[in-house]
């Protein structure tokens, strides 16, 4: 039985909240099974962060200090993580399922001929191995994935648990890693373009998804309801991918994360990356023909019906109510 290795992620010179969530998972799994918690803090100029993490659930923190890791570099990161796995004696490696994490985690597993499970929201020790819980079919079904022993790399959904908040004893030790010639080079980060539509400021948002069916239905059906309510129109990712609306309308983890007073989701199934973008809205109404659509899990009020029956009628009723 091996230890647990947390791979920390640094963003804007700080440990990400998602990293402290990994510490919560690690401490819980370790406590129940007698494993030790280790972690990797890798980057440039990160000794202070390593020290901080050793006191926030990071356990034995292995520090890799390198120019190659100043910015995200999947190739360099995989090398560093492999060194940390060896140094820590881990048989479970936890990585946050962020754009950096998903770029790196599978390659670590393949390189070590190990098991891999992604986007987990729960993990338990299970005999010699582990039991993981995640979603499949774009959030429609739950899956329990198991490993029966040997090294497993698992990526964890950000927000799946609360960040670790206790003060712990830990230690920091330097890990020397040689990188060789890298075939991957970080160039730059491009910030998001200024948006014509700032959904983060809207107090009411009416969003349409793939169920709206065609691009012209957005100005014909969805926009009128948004206008009648004095709100803004939004969209889920498939709508933007199809070119029906520009990216500035996209609500989700790779679009805008919104928290309006009222969020109406019409014809939106509720894939995880969309839910991440709107689930903290004050009040959520979901309209979808499919009673099993995952959107109903975050909705306060649900309507299982054809949005083309409900939305125009609602627009008329709201307009009438406003006189």
């Amino acid at each position: 039985m091996g230890n647990i290795l947390i791979v920390a992620e640094i963003q804007k010179g700080q440990l990400r909240e998602a990293t402290l969530e990994l510490a919560s998972f690690a401490q819980k799994v370790a406590g129940g099974s007698g494993r030790e918690v280790h972690s990797l803090v890798a980057g440039k100029g990160i000794e202070a962060l390593a020290d901080e993490f050793s006191k926030k659930g990071g356990g034995t923190v292995h520090v890799v200090e390198s120019e190659n890791l100043e910015h995200h570099n999947a190739e360099a990161a995989i090398t560093a993580i492999k060194a940390a796995i060896e140094a820590s004696g881990a048989d479970l490696v936890l990585i946050s399922n962020t754009p950096s994490g998903w770029d790196v985690a599978p390659g670590v597993a393949a390189s070590l001929d190990a098991g891999f499970v992604s986007e987990c929201f729960a993990i338990e020790a299970d005999g010699d191995g582990f039991s993981f819980h995640r979603r499949v079919f774009n959030g429609k079904l739950d899956a329990n994935v198991v490993s029966t022993g040997g090294l497993v790399v698992a990526s964890v959904q950000p927000g799946a648990t609360t960040p670790f908040s206790e003060t712990t004893d830990g230690s920091v030790s330097k890990l020397d890693v040689s990188f060789g010639d890298l075939k991957t080079r970080f160039v730059e980060v491009k910030q998001a373009e200024a948006k014509g539509v700032d959904l983060t400021k809207a107090s009411i948002i009416v969003s349409g998804g793939r169920g709206v069916g065609a691009p012209e239905k957005f100005p014909e059906v969805i926009q009128p309801l948004a206008d009648a309510l004095g709100g803004a129109m939004g969209a889920s990712r498939p709508v933007v991918d199809a070119g029906w609306l520009p990216h500035e309308y996209q609500v989700g983890s790779s679009g805008q994360v919104v928290q309006p007073k009222l969020y109406i989701a019409a014809g939106i199934s509720g894939a995880i990356q969309h839910l991440v973008g709107m689930k903290t809205s004050n009040y959520i109404v979901a309209i979808n023909k499919d009673p099993d659509a995952p959107i109903f899990e975050v909705a306060d009020l649900g309507v299982v019906a054809d949005l083309f029956d409900i939305v125009p009628a609602l627009t008329a009723a709201v307009t009438a109510a406003k006189g």
């Binding site: 190739e75 754009p99 393949a110 190990a114 198991v146 983890s253």
Partner: protein, 260 residues
Amino acid sequence: MKIMVCLKQVPHQDARLDIDADGTWIKEDGIKFEINTYDTYALEEALAVKDAGDAEVVVVSIGPDRVTQALRTALGMGADRAIHVKDDEANGSDALGIAKILAAVGKEESPDLVYMGLMSDDGNFAAVAPMLAQLLGIPHTTAAIKIERANGSVTVDREIEGGASEVVELQVPCLIAVQSGLNQVRYASLKGIMAAKKKPLDVKSVSDLGLSGQVGAGAAKVKVAKIAPPVKGETAEILQGSTDEVVASLVNKIKELGLL
């Protein structure tokens, strides 16, 4: 220039999802299949490269007889050759097993570029692409939203949070796992579909690729023990009644929230 595009055939996005008798996957009988949407963007990207100059596009997929249809569709869209790894021995492979099969094909093909989707619409593991890159010993990136090729290298914009992107430069040969919405995917023309019938479609077995005993359920390090509908929270109040009744309830709720 050779581009290898890996495709997965998955249940259609709107297919009924009934749990099978084992409880470990969904019932496949009677549902429609399609090419994984993420992979269609990868295929389109490769075909656009082919349109612009001299490139051979080879498509690869793993699975039973029904996968032939997906490969024919890809050939109809413009791919030059298809490889179908069809072997029950591959059943139950985890992502690493799949990556090993694709790597064996990749080693035979020696492509300059490997394009595939970031994840599959069914499993959503997002694992095979980066694993394949590792096994081929080539650099990779994921969630590509823009790809620019130069001599000996490729510059890729990869999507990060909040609408921002990170630009990375990879030496060729390399693997790119594409994000959905990368481009607008073409339809196969009638002419293309007719021409596809004459294009090579090679069928290979696991042992042809030298992988006997290394893939499939027996070699898998992880497996799906159970799938089930999510336990529903009790929080959603589902409105019942006629359209008029439902709409009236919604208007009342919006008034209660002080928004009307």
